[in-house]
Amino acid sequence: MIVSKKFKGIISAMLVVLIMASLVGCGKQEPAPGGGTATGGGGAATPSEGFSWDMASGSKIQVMFNQHTYADGIIQKIPEFEALTGIKVEYALTPEENYFDKLTTALNSRSGNPDIFMTGAYQLWQYAPAGYVADLTPFIEDPNMTNPDYNMDDFFPKIVDALKWDLVPGNKVGTGPQWALPIGFETNNLAYNKKVFEERGLEPPKTMEDLLKLTKELNEFDGPGTYALAIRGARNWGTIHAGYMTTYSNYGAVDFAVEDGKLVSKVNSPEAIEMTEMWVDLIKAGGSPSWSSYTWYQAGADFGAGKAAMLFDASCNGYFQNPDGASQEAGNLAWVSPPLPEGMTQINSNLWTWSLGMNEYSKNKTAAWLFMQYFTGPEYQLWAAINASAVDPARQSVFNDPEFQAVFAKSKGYAQAMEETVDGTTIQFTPQPHFFETTTEWAATLQDIVGGKYASVEEGMNALKVKMDQIVSDVVIE
């Protein structure tokens, strides 16, 4: 069969057009919707007079959760929320290893799905400048949109302020739009196995020097396979964020300073080097031999299984091991506030807060806001703290509730450690858009220092400073 050149040409041209159209479609940048208005987004009735839980009845919202205890509590209560509001909720639960990759891709599509997502503060430093997150301030300030019983002042100020940022790299959190609302938080403290300590007549450490001494003493405390101190060491930001950053700030060290309109890494300051030397000594003296692959999960599991005598990590990590039946050492675990360097009295701790954010491109903002109110509100928060292991509630009323205090009291020293630490708990990192890259590089360098790649800690931290300065070199502060 003879097919004309003209026909072939038409087919070829159609294919080229199709491919080009696909390319253009993939790269298309949708304009941001009218951002930050409480009435923004369609799909739900916009109330004009008075707050009502059923003001978005008939809407449907999509929620993305990280697989976590905090999400488990919310999922249990979704049917009650649906019955109260008439809003249909669909959700996706993703393990933490892949959660933020999936969320980033979903938000980048600017499709409005999910309407609501679980996030931490660090992620907001990337999502908010990209325009993915709705400013919640107009919703909070609108009496037609917000339940009079919601009570924003009930949140611990430093916890809720950690989710405010003015989008200027280098500026601390606490000012600017409210990008998310907390469903719980984590401070960092030292958990120890009181049975192990009592058997040996030991006292929990107050200073870092005490901690190092105990770490040496308790290494292989119950024979081979047991060790003194469980801490994170995996090659990601989590290794720097928990016990390390808490201690780093207690030594008076900072990650960055702003100099001449640029971010400059300070990881090779004398305080930073001294602190890192101490941290490396702790790992070498009595950390897990598998330290460099340890995330919060492995560290907590070893502590609960009686393989580690102490755990310097997120407050709730050890707490989850303590209820009856949760682990082999359940009931034997106790807490003190983070050990301080000799001579220091002010306790600082780095903050992590799981929170709920709203997609700027959501087509159901009223319904999404009702969901956020319900699950960050005082009633749900109290229920979750007592019944769903949502420990470290972000609301003061929950923290002071007698029933919750009774739950807390079952874990020796937990409440006291929390009270001593909470006022100094804030985000110790400098907000900047390359947070995950700089902290991953930091964790990799820490692994190299422990692995002996560098002749000294100072050499390693000097090399890290060069890398971090390079990573943030495109950040200009105006």
């Binding site: 990759d101 858009p433 890259e437 991953t440």
Partner: protein
Amino acid sequence: MEKSMNVHYTHDKHNKVPFWTKARPYLIIAPSLLLTIGILVPFATAIFYSLTNYSFARQGYEFVALRNWQNILGSSVFWHSVKVTAQYGLLTTGLQMCIGLGVALLLMRENRYTKILRILLIFPLMIAPVIATLIWQLMLNNSVGIVEKFLNLFGVYNFPWASSPDTALMTAVMIDCWVYIPFVMLLMLAGLQSLPKSPFESAKIDGGSAWFTFRTLTLPMLKPFIFIALIFRLMAALQEYAIIFALTKGGPGNTLMNLSLTGYNTGFAFMKLGEALPYLLFLWAVIYFISSKLVKAWLKVQKQAAGN
């Protein structure tokens, strides 16, 4: 004149090919054409974005020409990841080919043990590599791992496995081999069983040694199967992501940061898609080059094995 025109008209009408006849070949190849487009569009998109500063962390992007490519080619991180990719690919593939072939030869004997072993030895293939890695992590754990307990019997304590830069690659290669040796073994076993019996019987009658028979008969006739296994395994090993990520996330330090992990981290964890794509496109080019050479070699040995 009128007659002549009529004749001409009739001639044209009979020779005009109907549209559907002309379109038929295109309709027949339409499914594969769609598939090709499905592959080409993301590929072309990737090339396009590798020439931009596209980032998930900001709105819009700019065309930066070859800047991303120049940056990675001048970066020690890139060359380190190339080295890790090559080391990992060659070590895992080499070991898997040798051990897979050896096990297949052992399983050629017909008895009740080999029948059971043929079934048991393919179990690792039924487990997702990432799950296999998590299982190995538990087994190698210095506190609770069964391998650690076994080593303790010989006075070895706290073997560093994936925790040390000196042993991390070996640990990852070991897990990769555990997962994929059964795949090579299966292919080899199928190949061995398909070989004609008469040349081997002749060699036996002539008193040829086992090594002589293997070298001069088995190996040359098995070459097409060896090449198939080599193509599959080398391609996958050069792209490996799951095992390394689940084991160490590329650590300790940058020890196991291969091209896939570096590209993925740059693109998704650090949100710099434009900077990440050159890593992945470079990996694609390497794999394309090697696989095309191997496929050509495979076609050649297949002809040789068929006696052409």
